[in-house]
C-alpha cells in the first residue's frame, strides 16, 4: 500500500468522506428501527447530524490540569482509531493492504472501547466509574470470543492480510466465525442486551456522564464510526469477491445496512442483561462456539 492509496482509503472511501455520513446514517437507522418496532415515530433523518452540529456549538465546562487534558484527548483518540479502522477495511478490489493489517484493524477496533474505560475513570464521576468497570468486565468477556473468531477465520485461510481474507471464497468454517463475530457486536456497540456500560435510566450515560459539547459530539461520531467499522468488517468477510469496484462498494453498503437492521432488531427485542449474566453468556455459551471454530480451523490447517 503506497501513501496515496493509504490516504485515499483513510480520507475518501471507505474512510472519512464516506464513513462520517455513513456513521450518522447508521445511527439514525438504529434509532429509527428500534423506534418503529416499539410503535414510536423515531427521530427525523437528519437528527444525528443535527445533534452533532448542536453539540459542537456548545461550550464545555473548563477542566484544568492533567485530568482535563486526558478527558479532552480520549474522544479524539477514539475517533482517530475508529476512522483508521474504517480506512483499513478492504472494500474495493485490489485496494492494497499489507501482511498483518488484520491485527492492526483489531487493535484499532479495540481502542475506542479502551478510551471509554479510561474516560469513565478520568471523569471521576461515580456513574462513569461504574460504567467503565462494566465496560472493562464486558470487554474481557466478549473480546476473547471476538478475537478467537477472527483468528479462526485467519487460521483457516492461512493469512493475516485483510484483502486476501476478503478475496477468498466463504467456507462453512468462516461462516461459523462470522456468526461468532455477530454475536459479539451488540456488546462492542453497547446496544441491548449488552448496553450496561452506558445503561441509561440506571447510571445516566455511564462513562459519558461528565461529557458535554464538542467532546460529546466526538464520542457520538466515534460511536457511529465504530458501527461502520464493525458492520463493515462483517460485510467484507461475508461479501463475495467482485471485479467491479462499484459493485463491491454497493454490496458492502447493502450488507452493512442489513447487519445494522439485524442488530437493531435484536436491540428492540431484548432487555438489558445484568453484568454477571452478560459475562456468563460470553464465557459459557459463546466461548465454546469460538473454541470449536478455532480448533477446527487449526485441525484443517494441519491436515491440509
Amino acid at each position: 500500500m503506497n501513501l496515496i492509496t493509504a490516504l485515499a482509503r483513510l480520507l475518501i472511501f471507505p474512510g472519512l468522506l464516506f464513513a462520517v455520513p455513513a456513521a450518522w446514517f447508521f445511527l439514525w437507522v438504529e434509532r429509527k428501527t428500534v423506534a418503529l418496532m416499539q410503535g414510536r415515530v423515531g427521530p427525523p433523518f437528519m437528527q444525528p447530524f443535527f445533534d452533532f452540529v448542536k453539540l459542537t456549538a456548545k461550550s464545555t465546562p473548563p477542566r484544568s490540569g492533567i485530568a482535563g487534558a486526558l478527558m479532552r484527548s480520549w474522544p479524539l483518540i477514539a475517533l482517530a482509531s475508529a476512522a483508521g479502522a474504517v480506512g483499513l477495511l478492504p472494500v474495493l478490489p485490489s485496494s492494497g493492504g499489507f501482511e498483518g493489517d488484520l491485527i492492526l484493524l483489531l487493535a484499532l477496533l479495540e481502542m475506542p472501547s479502551m478510551c471509554i474505560i479510561a474516560a469513565g475513570f478520568s471523569s471521576r464521576s461515580i456513574f462513569g466509574e461504574i460504567g467503565s468497570a462494566r465496560e472493562a468486565a464486558l470487554s474481557v468477556s466478549y473480546n476473547i470470543v471476538f478475537l478467537l473468531a477472527i483468528v479462526s477465520i485467519a487460521a483457516s485461510q492461512h493469512t493475516f492480510r485483510l484483502e486476501a481474507l476478503a478475496a477468498l471464497p466463504a467456507s462453512p468454517l468462516r461462516l461459523l466465525g462470522i456468526v461468532a463475530i455477530i454475536v459479539c457486536l451488540p456488546a462492542k456497540l453497547h446496544i441491548n442486551p449488552f448496553s450496561l456500560p452506558n445503561a441509561e435510566q440506571e447510571i445516566y450515560a455511564g462513562p459519558m456522564t461528565e461529557y458535554a459539547g464538542p467532546e460529546l459530539a466526538m464520542w457520538e461520531l466515534s460511536h457511529g464510526l465504530e458501527w461502520v467499522a464493525a458492520t463493515g468488517l462483517v460485510a467484507t468477510l461475508l461479501a463475495p469477491h467482485f471485479g467491479a469496484w462499484w459493485l463491491a462498494a454497493l454490496v458492502f453498503v447493502a450488507l452493512s445496512f442489513a447487519i445494522v437492521l439485524l442488530l437493531s432488531a435484536v436491540a428492540a427485542a431484548t432487555a438489558r442483561l445484568a453484568i454477571d449474566t452478560s459475562v456468563r453468556f460470553y464465557w459459557q455459551c459463546t466461548l465454546i462456539f469460538a473454541v470449536l471454530a478455532i480448533s477446527s480451523a487449526l485441525f484443517m490447517r494441519y491436515r491440509l
Binding site: 423506534a35 418503529l36 418496532m37 416499539q38 410503535g39 414510536r40 415515530v41 423515531g42 427525523p44 432488531a265 428492540a268 427485542a269 431484548t270
Partner: protein, 152 residues
Amino acid sequence: MKILSMLWKNLIRGPRTLLFPARPPVTERFRGLVQFDPSLCTGCAVCRFRCTSRAIEFKAGKGEFTWSYNPGQCTFCGRCVEGCAEHALKDGHLEHALSQAEDTPPIYLVQGELKKSYTVARRPPAARPAATAGTQPAATSKPSPTTSGGAQ
C-alpha cells in the same frame, strides 16, 4: 419468540406517537379554559367554593360583584362548570394551547398574565319567582307519562 411477533405487529401497525411540533387532536371531552358568561351569572359564588386550586376569585360589592379567573392556577378539573346552576360557566373546548388552535404554544412571562376579571351588576331579585314558576310546569308535566301509562 412472542416478542418478535409483537415487534412485527408494531412495525406493520405504524407509530402511535407524533413528531414534536405535531399535536394530537383534542378529544370531545377535552376541558379547555373556563368560559364565563356574565349575563347568566347570578353571583352565587358556588364556583369559587368548588374551585380547589383557587383559580376563581369572587369579591362581593355593593350592587355588583367581581368574578375573576386565573388559568395559570386552574387544574381544569371542571368542578366549577359542573356546579354552575345557571350555566354561566362552560368548558372552552378549543380555548387551550394544547388544542392545536395555534401553531406554536404560547409563552407566558408574567405571573397571572392570563387572569381575567369581570365586574357584573347584580340582577334584581325578580328572578326568584321566575325560578319557582319554572319548576311549576315540570311538576305538572311529571304525572303525564304515568297517566298515559295508566291509560295503556
